[in-house]
Amino acid sequence: MIGSALGSLVVAWQTLRTHKLRTFLTCLSLAIAVLALVMVDAASQVAADALVAQARLTQGLPETWQLDVQAGRINQDRARQAYALTTTIEAPLGGSTVLLARVNGEINGTPVAVTAVLGDLRSIRPFPITSGRWLTQGGVPNIDAEVVLSGGFAGISNGDRVHVAIPGLQTTIPARVVGSVDDRAPGATIYVRLDEILLWTDCSSSAWNQALLLHEPSERGGEAGRVLDYVASIAKLPGPPTRIDALGYTADTLATTRTIFLLIAGVSMLVGVLGILNIGLVSLRERVEEIALRRATGATRLQIGLSVVGESVLAALASAVFAVVVAWFTVPFAATSLFPNLPMIESVGFPYQTAAVGILVSGLAGFLGGIIPAIRAATIDIASIMRA
């Protein structure tokens, strides 16, 4: 049996090797289908990475919850109490707590969104630092506030002294630019330490918008909302807290898109099967005499069938391997071309699992496309051929 199978494979290989155009045509459709399959999967993974990266920067890491704080003197005090309480609860558990106070202001006369931060914001939104450094964590607040820029600020660079204007404040706050980040937010934003802003204003006017953010490690998913709910009840802040990261929604959208594209790749694979079937049946007419000769020289029906289906499977596997190699070289280039401005995609992963599945599915497609010609070849009546 092994001898028969190996002999049939040698015959299949000989036929493929000596009919280059036919082999090429057989391989072409399946190679395109496998290439589409691998590229679609790779592209969807890259797109997922890109969108997730975007979502992480603008909304926060997975399992980030927010408790909004209404403006007003009492609420500002309660917000800072809530921050202290949440930090006390969460710090030992690895959670990150941040109190944000936002207001629309100006810097050197240019409108900006001012975000005052208490806590390590980059542990929740990991902005890449494009120059300089991030805000100092802790320590004595400076009269000259530290400022980190994001977005376009023509003519301002690290080390420059600037003046931040805030609505309701008669004077401007002197500040020093220490770095810049890319927060992916539209428009210009400056980040400052909240304790340094509090030296100038208590942030209680209606122009300010405050929020308490809490991120927990993903393995403790769901706890952050309950902790913030508890903190809100203790600090008498209005609730309820809401989850603000959109990663779940993004993942669902990506999964749907990926499924649609994989279906398209599947249809391409079906077209490939039909192509193999068509070429197999057409070439069979030309090979009737060859098959009769092989039968006359001792080939059984099984061996003839194996050699014909073996041709299709070998061609399909070869085309799939070729497509995977092409994809392997193409994916990084295509990914960086499609998503040139996403610094979070430092290395594009190749979908090895999909590539393996593509090769296996291609082999199966070769089998399906070759089985009917194989059955026809195996059932050829050699006596009638030899009489002709």
Partner: protein
Amino acid sequence: MIRASGLCKAFRAVAEERVSVLRGVDLAVAAGSSVAILGRSGSGKSTLLSILGLIETVDGGTYELNGKDVSRLSDSEAARVRGERLGFVFQRSLLLPHLTAAENVEVPLLHAGALILPRTRRQLVAAAMSRVGIGHRAKHKPSQLSGGEQQLVALARALVRQPRLILADEPTGNLDPSTGERIVRTLAELPSDGLTSVVMVTHDHELATLLDHRYVLTDGRLGVVS
């Protein structure tokens, strides 16, 4: 070697009418002998050869090969016997145009069922091609060979598995007389090893004299040529 008795074969023609081609053929071929079967076109020579080659089944009679009745074998058993014990030479060489001469000769070895290593296959191919004097054309494609050379390659293909019976169906039909004679002389020399037998169908009486025994097929029956 071969003992056939009462072989009958009929084909269905138009309007359900059956045409009897063989009507009780008796034939015995000893090991190490060669036989020519003569007859007019349509007399049933090729049908008889197809039956002896287990390509065609018989309607009646018995056919023994090396003492074993092979007239009622299954399809796969018949294929195995064809591969192991029989070698065919057809009127047309039926070489596969996309393969070299050596690869054409190798064809029966690839269907042997048992695993034959590539090195062994190469040795057997070289031996068969040398035996018929065509070894120097091993790497040529059929289109690069003359008609006589193609037929010699076909003969080497028939010999490569060292069968005990060579069946040749008008092997000189497409060749000029001198080349045809060379082919038949090569065939006629094969039984000199005392093991191989040759049955050749031809309508050429002169070439038939090169073989040990001559029979003529007339009206579906075999008679001895005096």
